[in-house]
Symmetry: C2
Amino acid sequence: MGGEREFIASLLVPLANTPAARGLADDAAVWTPPLGRDLVVTHDVLACGVHYLPGDPPGDVAWKLLAVNLSDLAAMGATPAGVLMGLALSAAEDGAWREAFVAGLGRAMTHFGVAMWGGDTVTGIDRAVLGLTAVGFVEPGQALARSGASVGDDLWVSGTIGDAGLGLAIALGEAPGDSYLLNRFRRPLPRLALGQALAGIATACMDVSDGLLIDADRIGRASGVRLSIVLADVPLSGQALARTDGDAGMLARATAGDDYELLFTAHPDRRVDVAAAATASRTPVTRIGQIFEGVGVAAVNNAGVDITPARLGWEHS
Amino acid sequence: MGGEREFIASLLVPLANTPAARGLADDAAVWTPPLGRDLVVTHDVLACGVHYLPGDPPGDVAWKLLAVNLSDLAAMGATPAGVLMGLALSAAEDGAWREAFVAGLGRAMTHFGVAMWGGDTVTGIDRAVLGLTAVGFVEPGQALARSGASVGDDLWVSGTIGDAGLGLAIALGEAPGDSYLLNRFRRPLPRLALGQALAGIATACMDVSDGLLIDADRIGRASGVRLSIVLADVPLSGQALARTDGDAGMLARATAGDDYELLFTAHPDRRVDVAAAATASRTPVTRIGQIFEGVGVAAVNNAGVDITPARLGWEHS
């Protein structure tokens, strides 16, 4: 535990009120995992100016930092337990920013039932880079993967698609404001309960972070199958629907990132089980396509024409 | 798992050749921990220009990133298992830098017997920020802490003190070169075997990362005792000894950071056990003081005078 003593003592220690964190007073966290489970561990980084905007509310940045990592756990069907943070801060993250960041983080941690275990804070860098490690667990051998989709499986997605991309346009001042859409961009809701309920049901699963089509393509490549998506069946929110026109509009929704919904496949015999998982987790799910022989993804319009675009989503160059 | 596709595919995937990493193809790593152990988890960040110099060899930067985190596990008595990395890279970290970084990381991982599980890579930031999460395990309840030192305990330190501080001066061009000292700064050796051997023997333990005196002070504050250090007993390497003169010189060694030795306390009845742990782990240890009533640290010279300086070591402002 290095870094900014006062920030840690006054703001982070109160947050780390779990035995595993040891009051942030030792060199590492110590946690007794539930017996006989597999651990699921992920680490995602948000860079200021790349993944969020310098003017974004600090509390929302904290929420997003936690949420994107928990979304990775959700995609594996895991239950989150604790997190460690690596904060590299610049002079722009002043006292008020830090206070608001930690307050927002605390709210998010409470919301998702996850504990702060530790980490590191460094200062004196030019632009903030925020890393977070999330640790969770699954029943042994039950972690979901991208590689299990089979020909004939159904393709499903949770929630609605494209809201966050519209929210980003609003945050950038490129589109008229809407608090629902902006919130979907700034405060994503990882589908933890659904992911956990899908263990043993879904054959493949991942979270939609870079765009529906590109993430579907990843499942297709990992599984050695082709995911065919009926664009008209992709669920949109009312707010997104009002801003979406024709095939081009649907493709814009399906290639925008930051949705953090779950995209998963399951055998058609398991439709009742998928519906039960959705009900149990209070998460809407929609069947949006089917798995065929081939590799990758195909987006099909109402006329049955394959209109898969060259750019499938957010590509990290 | 976001970020720089080609870098990940060509350089990081070959490194992640362990089942837990799932070929870096899923949203998170999945690891089956040894049954009934406690997990020990730490995350430390190295920022370019703050913790290492832009001109440092990339392989050494990788070594240090891994080593400082494993040193935190060593301080807890833990056995390392796997790591996740969060790399935020700028244009300065070009193809050659990345290749050398990953090659050095691979060598360090092999040296310390630790697996690459995953992480995230982002680009387009101004200056590199490198984060690493290390996961290890200990026998249940056996993790070492800073808070267990008792009045009457001996104070011990492993290896030699002050070499890395002299190495930093060499790296900065402020002192004549010496490959041993420079190496001690750039390629620290976490005392993993000693830490593991000290479980059940040491009453308090931490790694010396910010300076012997300041880290001793931290044990003192965490344990509610005073650590008295006999400066003349603090072990120096031959190379450091040749550059160290009088009390001022000893204080310079004892307030420099980056040594990554273990500083620990044990009851005097356990001297034979400490010696056995040192032998078993092939790590030299030296008794450098004793624990008294009070709080914090005191540095005593040959004349028995308390010459504790105001500045105890590297303070993160």
